[in-house]
Symmetry: D2
Subunit: 334 residues, 4 copies
């Protein structure tokens, strides 16, 4: 039995998910698509021989849709998630879950009130094989207890509409989530250092930014978020433990020797780096939905990421360290 | 419209292909399976909710089967390929295409007589992203004209029934095919050097063997085929050109520092190394069959690999270089 | 004409310098040695067939000594440097130049009053080929203007007498100096983060510590100083520029594949890592002394390192960022 | 007491050795130099403030010369070595020891007749730390018994006077020596494969050449000797054992990320690659000469390299494998 998925949003990431569901994920099909740009959505529906529905609301309510993927404009996420909860339909919502931590809490309240786990947030890195190996290595005690994390998140260049806050909420948020998941601890304080700005970045943009987080047990994390590295899309992470360290590998690439140099190519776009992670995310989600037991990042994780991002923004704006109080994960989400 | 595939052989590789068609390849399903071990085939049919048929002949002739995958015992390949040709059904046959070059020629004759390209041989490495990058780098002129190739094919350990000839026909045959494809040239001579044997290999086994091939334009190839490396499954290849070299990367793996060493894991089994290549092979084959235009390795490639392997075996047994005469690719296979 | 060098201190580092001057540096010899442990110094004098003198004062004043190397207990450095200045003798003083920044200033005053540059401080990393390449790469514009620095300084284990301050003054001080030299900028603020302690480190030791520095132009630096990494002595440094990054390589080491892993050895002791840098330091110093023109790190650099270390210690103890005011390099030191 | 060394030959390598003895090697000085180009030798003598002598004979006989370094034109080596033996003076002769294996045997006879080991041949790679580590790793059993060797010796470009034989006698001879030393076995057969020529190499030059050697116990060796790699000077070597492999590292170099690539520089000249090996060779030789006990490569090693090179040349010219019969090392050389 195939899972009938409705996709809200037919922009870049939405179309990629439509292709993924159609071509890569066995046991699922795209039953309907919608977008505020109806013409675009219509074209995409045509291309993938699926149905166009005129609004997200209709799509969510459609009896032909078993489960929903939200890949629309960020500010619309919360509203559509609430609609899915009302319809008691499973939903995979691209990050962020909502625009504010308070909005995330309202989703949590609604989901708990509704009585069933329905929401997964699109933190696809949890499905990347290298992060999975890293977590396994830590669990196996290969490096002893973690003490410090050095990470960097570098984009080659940024979009014109990029803002200082988006550095944290759009880019750094991936590290916020993956490191909570990796270390299995909550954050207790946040600080952001800014300094010399890259003059190739847009005027007024504080780029790069250095995010500093500390966890409950005292693990110190620093993350360089760099929107204009100039050379490529480069994700690095090293966990320093009491007896050793683990580090993400570079994506494997052909080794070339020529003109006095040894070299290999670095990816230029984020979409290339996590292709397999997205594929695995969708495969697991479809399988989880079918067997009725979600295992991916949930509303609580969406909330934790959001409140941490808010703390980082406040810390940066105030130029000081600020405490983070995530609170206790409700039993509902265990 | 889904492609209905019949799979002959439900041993390790056969089951893996059944899983692949079912879970990984969109647009195809397993319509029937068979095996000389009927009980095993029945169990597998049950597991994947597909039909068991009592013989390869019935499976090939079944109107419910659109296309066939042959993953049975090597000596049966040729017979089943002929049956597919008689039924005018597309067939993906695991290597080898047949037990002898002469048998391969008979398949070629039958296929040409039948009038339509029907046969693809399971040289999955052609779908590996690293080999594809390597070929692209050569085409782009990144290393100049190729002059020499250093390759090695190392298994961690060998199966009990392994023979000296299998080192060439089962293992080295992958390098024979991939290097013809990479260099786009035929081989003209073969030699094999044997020397000190690994005493961890079975008694009487000449392991490792060094295969030496030369192409039409004079490119010199050496391939270490090592059935008992002891440490892992390790495939390496470096092409030396007039101005530079390209080399396959190691599969990417977590970087660990502990106990005075930096290290990363090496794969232990061949099945791990080419998972994605197999996936891509099947996706392309299904897509090619549907649109009626095969692009993968064909009967001629199966024949070329076979005649080269025979030359290598003769060269090794006679302790001398022997010429290889592959002949001209028939227009049918252009 | 050989340079006659007197060496104060015949402990580990002192003996290593005596060996170096005797066996590695052409154009120089050890003319005399001394140590507060007269018996030890006598044994060393015997071993290297040089003269034992009963006190540092006599050694510095001896007409047989042209230039002095100070490798004694840290708190004695300043006094011996002053004595060298009074004798107008060239002196290579192991770091630190003095115990406090104020003491460093008094040395500067005395040196300027004396009228001739006489003092070099033992920051040997400036002579390491990898740091030199890194500085050259930056100067050549290979990465654009530097924006951020990620460094780490990991010891395998620490000595019993190690203190929290020594993490900064003994270990981190090398990064303090090398990064000022690399970036050619002074520091303007300091912060230190401490968190979860390695329970393999001594009780009460805050280990690791994360040093945060910012330069005049706003370059953000973070340095993990880790006294008990458990796995080896590991020095890493990456400079992130506007268009690219440069990173120190690992010291080259034999590549081994065995037992399912690829690996190479990591050094265990700091003395192995900078052997060549020490050799080059001494060769350059001897050559500079002979031609009468010092080019190495001078008293001002010793002072800058010291005042920065003091700021870091205060920042750590107060749990806040503190400003650093190094002041303007006197013309005397240009 | 300093060792007084006379250097015959003031071309590139000779001048480099003069500089080395003067600046790098403690306990030795250049007492005299000579060259068939008297003007050049005079200039060099001046530069290094040493004595010019008008002929090699006078230099060898001079009472001011304790030991001799031969760095003259290859065909003169044997004659000067004989002169050193007659004078009972220690001599470090650049490879080759002589132009033919027969000439090498005559040196061996003369040296034995004279009664004292006097001759060391300039196979400096034996002093390279990576080859030393490799040999140590094998001895420690890290890879089990060696079975196969893959090596390559690539020059960026060749000199105008380069010949097909020089590929073996000048370049490949280094691998001939280092692998005998590494494996501690003699060669028993030789073969050379030639194929497609690099059109950037000189007209008529067979480049690259693939040297194939087999040792007494059956270890199979292949060495690509490539005089016109185009991209740099690149020495690679991998030893394949029964349970693992060891491989030379690339010389460590700064890691740069820019313009979509990760890369590091490859050396362009052989002189850069083995600087430290040459330094160590001379330090050991001077020390050995002083204590009267040579430990480096001796006349027998020079002979073994020469007879192996001759076998390779004959094998290439005849297009077949030829046996090598080195014979038994005389007790004199144990």
């Amino acid at each position: 039995m195939e899972l009938n998925i409705g996709v809200i949003g037919t922009g870049g990431i939405g179309r990629d998910h439509i292709r993924r569901i159609t071509e890569v994920v066995a046991g699922a099909r795209v039953a309907a698509v919608t977008d505020i740009d109806a013409e675009l959505a219509g074209t995409v529906a045509n291309q993938y021989q699926t149905r166009f529905l005129p609004s997200a609301e209709e799509l969510i309510q459609s009896p032909e849709v078993d489960a929903v993927v939200i890949a629309s404009w960020d500010p619309t996420h919360a509203e559509y998630v609430h609609a899915c909860i009302r319809e008691s339909k499973q939903v995979l919502c691209e990050k962020p879950l909502a625009s504010t931590a308070d909005d995330c809490r309202r989703i949590i309240d609604a989901e708990i009130a509704q009585g069933k786990k329905l929401v997964q947030v699109g933190f696809m890195r949890r499905y990347d094989k290298d992060y999975l190996s890293m977590k396994a290595a830590i669990k196996q005690g290969n490096i002893g207890a973690p003490l410090m994390v050095h990470a960097c998140h570098r984009n080659r260049t940024h979009i014109a509409s990029h803002t200082n806050d988006m550095t944290i909420t759009n880019s750094g948020v991936h590290e916020i989530d993956i490191l909570r998941w990796m270390l299995e601890e909550e954050y207790v304080s946040a600080q952001v250092l800014t300094g010399k700005c890259n003059h190739y970045a847009a005027h007024g943009l504080q780029d790069p930014q250095l995010l500093l987080l500390q966890t409950e047990s005292g693990i110190l994390i620093n993350v360089e978020v760099n929107m204009a590295s100039g050379y490529g899309y480069d994700i690095q992470c090293e966990i320093v433990g009491e007896t050793g360290t683990v580090r993400l590998p570079d994506p494997s690439a052909l080794q070339l020797r020529s003109e006095g140099r040894h070299g290999f190519g670095i990816l230029s776009e984020w979409s290339q780096r996590f292709v397999e992670a997205y594929d695995n995310e969708f495969k697991h989600w479809v399988s989880d939905v079918k067997r009725g037991k979600l295992t991916g990042p949930d509303s609580w994780d969406g909330y934790a990421a959001c409140i941490t991002a808010e703390a980082l923004i406040r810390a940066r704006n105030e130029g000081t360290a600020v405490p983070i109080s995530i609170g206790t994960r409700p039993a509902f989400y265990h």
